[in-house]
Symmetry: C2
Subunit: 313 residues, 2 copies
């Protein structure tokens, strides 16, 4: 039989960049507090597995997020590795100063795209919240630190339902004004769908071609990897994921968390998309995380194994 | 099919057809046996919710699949509804005769695309297995019954790993030779990935444009809905799903089952794709199924709720 070339041209990226957010977005929700040593071990094993970007924690008030209280100590203990980026979440200039003191060169500022959510949380619109980062941006620039921005509830929000593309673009504009060139659209509440991800992804890339775009999905409603596929179709090649699929959503207790690093990498490798990461090592990190926190998680590959595992030799 | 064309050429269907396979592919794996009345109730509630195609059971040897032993009784009890198709799985002419006697007009013949799997199970190649249906096809034609074909392990198989597109096309060819015009590619073992689904979907449609194509996915490795999205991109608009996400994979005990009907419909409606099905009714059927079988299942929406559920009024 002779086959014709594919007619329609959906193009997958030949490789994607996976950012491990487990030490921050995963562990911040866990009741079991890990030690500094355990966190450092997880991060260094991720580096060993080939992960090049790791969100190692957050410099926020220790009482607000107790599992993140030791981020300074974790950051100080990490071996710096050529080509590996350790980034941390900060909320303001205080966090930025702590990050710098601990040797972290890349900080992520976060803002909610939802006007209602932002007003309720901070009594500021999203745009005002971003403009409030101006001093932080100047501080970072003067110290040679790099800032990225995370736009949370970029697709949907419990306070106002679907978040419009116009609203997202307006927040992006503000981030650009303060000089931030790397941005993430985050589906914190698991409300994004593939059509929306594709549409928003295409438009932000079109409107802001000089921005480096990241996507961050939770698998709350089963659409996590479908959203990754939609993001790839829109030409975005940087994705957050979390070891063992930790993390959750305060609005849906018991629901699935972040997409699992092992699930994302498994899918990519099956699709012929390179990640530069050793899947078996990531799986073994995931199992270790489950041991440390003492409960089952929403990872698929930790349950079912890789496709190749069930193939008889 | 009408497509909403987006700028860079990704086309989503404006509507899809969802086939409820729960009464067959879901319940056949459950330890708790439902009564005929309970099965009829589930099927009739699905019809009420707007489902137009339901796989009501299988006419196989009662000892081989005890939960399906009462399919004759179920079929006899069902009210016929204009525009609703009740289909059943059969393995041979005996099953077809039982289906006919019970008033079922549409039967699904199944064959494994994997040579190694088919030889091990039936001592026949997939092509020989399909040709073995010739008598069934003639019987069906003479009785005015309609046959569809399911090609299981169409993407991957524990006996031989990835199943090649050439192998799948060769099985399709045999089905066409015996006059079957509706076919399903089934990812029984949860080994399909979006790149492969897109590629196989495009090619089978191109090569056999007169066939009505269906896709059947399990969420074993988290790629279920991602594969649906890839199938839609290839222009396929008929998908199997199972209430509450029942079903499993003998090769990965404890893993997720079929994609859940409520998860699929929820994603489609969020994407603006019509299904003609009432999501709330489907969710309530899913909850009832969980009650009947007495355990939790791998449905996301039954855990997390719809996106709209968390939006404050």
């Amino acid at each position: 039989m002779v086959f014709n070339q594919l007619k329609d041209g959906v193009k997958w990226p030949s490789s994607i960049q996976v950012c491990e957010v487990g030490p921050r977005d995963g562990l911040q929700n866990e009741k079991t507090l890990l030690t500094v040593e355990q966190k450092v071990e997880l991060i260094e094993r991720s580096v060993q597995a080939g992960v090049k970007i790791i969100e190692i924690g957050s410099f926020v008030h220790p009482k607000a997020v107790p599992p993140m209280a030791d981020t300074d100590a974790v950051a100080r203990r990490l071996k710096r590795v050529e080509g590996v980026e350790y980034r941390a979440l900060v909320l303001n200039i205080k966090g930025l100063e702590r990050a710098e003191a601990a040797g972290i060169r890349k900080a992520k500022l976060t803002v909610s795209a939802s006007r209602a959510h932002s007003l309720s949380n901070l009594n500021k619109t999203p745009e005002e919240a971003v403009r409030g980062f101006t001093e932080s941006a100047e501080y970072a620039a003067s110290r040679g630190m790099v800032l990225s921005g995370a736009i949370s509830t970029a697709f949907g929000c419990p306070f106002e339902g679907k978040v419009s593309l116009e609203q997202v673009l307006s927040v992006v504009e503000c981030f650009r004004e303060i000089g931030v060139k790397e941005l993430s659209l985050s589906d914190t509440t698991g409300m994004a769908n593939p059509q929306q991800v594709y549409e928003y992804g295409l438009r932000v890339k079109e409107q802001f071609p000089d921005v480096t775009w990241n996507l961050h999905f939770h698998n709350t409603r089963g659409m996590g990897l479908a959203n990754v596929v939609a993001g790839m179709m829109a030409g975005i090649d940087r994705y957050d994921a979390c070891f063992a699929g930790l993390g959750g959503c305060p609005f849906a207790p018991g629901a699935s968390g972040n997409i699992a690093t092992e699930d994302l990498i498994h899918m990519c490798h099956e699709m012929g998309i390179e990640t530069g990461i050793d899947l078996d090592q990531v799986i073994s990190i995931g199992r270790y995380v489950q041991e440390l926190i003492g409960h089952d998680t929403s990872s698929f590959i930790l349950k079912a194994g890789k496709c190749s595992d069930i193939v008889k030799a």
